[in-house]
């Protein structure tokens, strides 16, 4: 089985995000970038399959700016065999266009299993994997929390309200990783040294296209300041009322 793991370069979860002057993108100044945490889980799951002898090769695939070589090198340092960066030449690209570019590349790589994180934590769209599955006409299971490889098939678990659902899916297929599927390893220093010698191919991404366009980005409204209702037991009835009627916590 050949696995391709699609990763996205996203601002570090702790980065303080500012909106750029165009009002539509994130200002990259002072932002540290990382592999999306769910993609990291997907990569770890792929590496585990390889270590268990269930996959011969793990390729990481990314559509992003030229600087995303750092995230791909990190993935190689964690243990992926090779990497492909589809260098984004700019312009707006909606989820379908991203899915199209990744699907075409994954098909070219001959990947039997295409793994994604269930969502990219920057845009929160969670639509690229499903669009890619539709383009490739492959079955898709999302929010996978456990994965076992059988003969030409995969057994996937996913969490559903109050329980677990076990699904069987034939290869080739598309899966999206949810928290719990695997605990990402640290890139070791030896891995980082080895990654320098692993193949990382950069090629231009297909021209950008977008049917869905970003109108504008805006930051969440500032939280209103706290209120002081009074002091001592006299304030309790009003506090209880607000917790019940306004905050709806009771």
């Amino acid at each position: 089985m050949k696995i391709a793991v699609c990763i996205k370069r996203v601002p570090d979860t702790t980065a303080k995000v500012r909106i750029a002057a165009d009002g539509k993108t994130v200002d990259p100044a002072g932002v540290e970038w990382v592999i999306g945490p769910y993609e990291e889980i997907a990569l770890e799951a792929a590496l585990k399959l390889k270590e268990a002898g269930k996959a011969e090769k793990v390729t990481v695939l990314c559509l992003g700016p030229k600087e995303a070589t750092k995230e791909l090198r990190t993935a190689l340092a964690m243990g992926a065999d090779d990497a492909v960066l589809l260098v984004d030449g700019g312009g707006e690209r909606d989820a379908a266009a991203v899915a199209g570019a990744l699907a075409a590349e994954a098909k070219g790589l001959g990947a039997d299993l295409l793994l994604f994180g269930w969502k990219a934590i920057d845009t929160d769209q969670a639509s690229v994997p499903h669009l890619a599955a539709a383009i490739l006409e492959r079955p898709c299971v999302s929010f996978v929390t456990k994965l076992e490889a059988g003969d030409g098939r995969l057994l996937c678990h996913r969490e559903v309200e109050g329980g677990t659902e076990a699904l069987e899916v034939p290869l080739p297929c598309v899966l999206t990783a949810q928290k719990g599927l695997a605990e990402p390893r640290y890139a070791s220093l030896k891995g980082i040294m080895a990654a320098k010698k692993k193949p990382l191919v950069e090629k231009p991404a297909p021209a950008a296209a977008a049917a869905v366009r970003t109108e504008r980005l805006s930051l969440p409204p500032e939280r209103p300041p706290g209120r002081i209702l009074g002091q001592g037991v006299d304030a309790v009835p009003e506090l209880v009322r607000l917790l019940r009627d306004e905050a709806k916590l009771l």
Partner: protein, 393 residues
Amino acid sequence: MAHASPYTAMDFYDVDALLTEEDRIVRDTVRSFVDAEILPDIRRHFRDGTFPLDLIPRFGEMGLLGSQLEGYGCAGMSYTAYGVICREMERGDSGARSFCSVQSSLVMYPIHRYGSEEQKRKWLPEMAAGRKIGCFGLTEPDFGSNPGGMATTAKTVKGGFVLNGNKYWITNASIADLSLVWARLDGGTIRGFLVEKGTKGCTPEEIRGKYSLRASDTSGIVLEDCFVPSDAILPEGVGLKAPLSCLDSARYGIAWGAVGAAQACFDEALRYAKTRIQFDRPIASFQLVQNKFAEMLTWITSAQLQAWRLGRLWDEGTHEPAHTSLAKRHNVEMALKVGRTCRDILGASGITEEYAALRHVLNLESVITYEGTHDIHGLILGERITGIPAFKG
């Protein structure tokens, strides 16, 4: 890897942009490791005066031990990468960084540089993997800044050597599998001896009651007619310059590590100042507080640039010991000033273990003393500038 804590390293001049992509991956991976593995338990270790021993094999798995050395199971990375590791480790705690400094620079480095092929093969892969722990016995109760005066002796006897003396202020000595003991051989030159744990006549004694580096083992070593076989001597290291070269490498790591401690304190104090309300305003809005941050930002930026440039000198092989003295001296003093200033901004909260600043300050009181005190490095620089040694008779 996305990291678990809200830590943001102050890097005003984007000095990390000067690092290679590889070094930045090292930074990210060690930073995540410190967040997930060191910080959650460090307060307990500091309180109890214990070292997180369970982390040592993890350091090994990550390749953090002897990372700057080639071969024998070591990662073979640049000195800049080694510096970045020290910086990120000391962001967690100076004790964790001290462990790595001792293992990497004070034990693995001399074995790699001065050891026999057999010694390298026996010890380096095990130490790189974190399965064996080393310590470096140079300092004595009566010989700190003046190690050349050491009283520990080695006497050639049939089949080996007999060691006698006392070593003191030795990081890791009580937990070490291997002690590299420096002693004067037959009244002549200083030589290094590899003393394995359990060797008769070699007894570590933990130093208790420390206010500083509590999450680190600091011990003395008593050597009483301690016999070691003839293959225990480091064949290539002759004279005081051998242990001094190890200290040079360790000091290099400290120059970077201090930046991490300062960045940790700065980040914590800034977060606090923005949310701590006094006189109906966040204290970050007051001019006196802002000035403190402006000063600290300047100090940290200056120290970052020194560390980075020193890294380049080491990687190019053009460094001299005085270069390292300058950055070690400057950066540790800088970190202490930042730590104390942050402790002040934190107000009363700053004296509790809820905040890291005072832990860093207490640790840095050791860091400014060990591996050449602040004043001794001033004298090394003084000699380099004037050509006149001030500390020799």
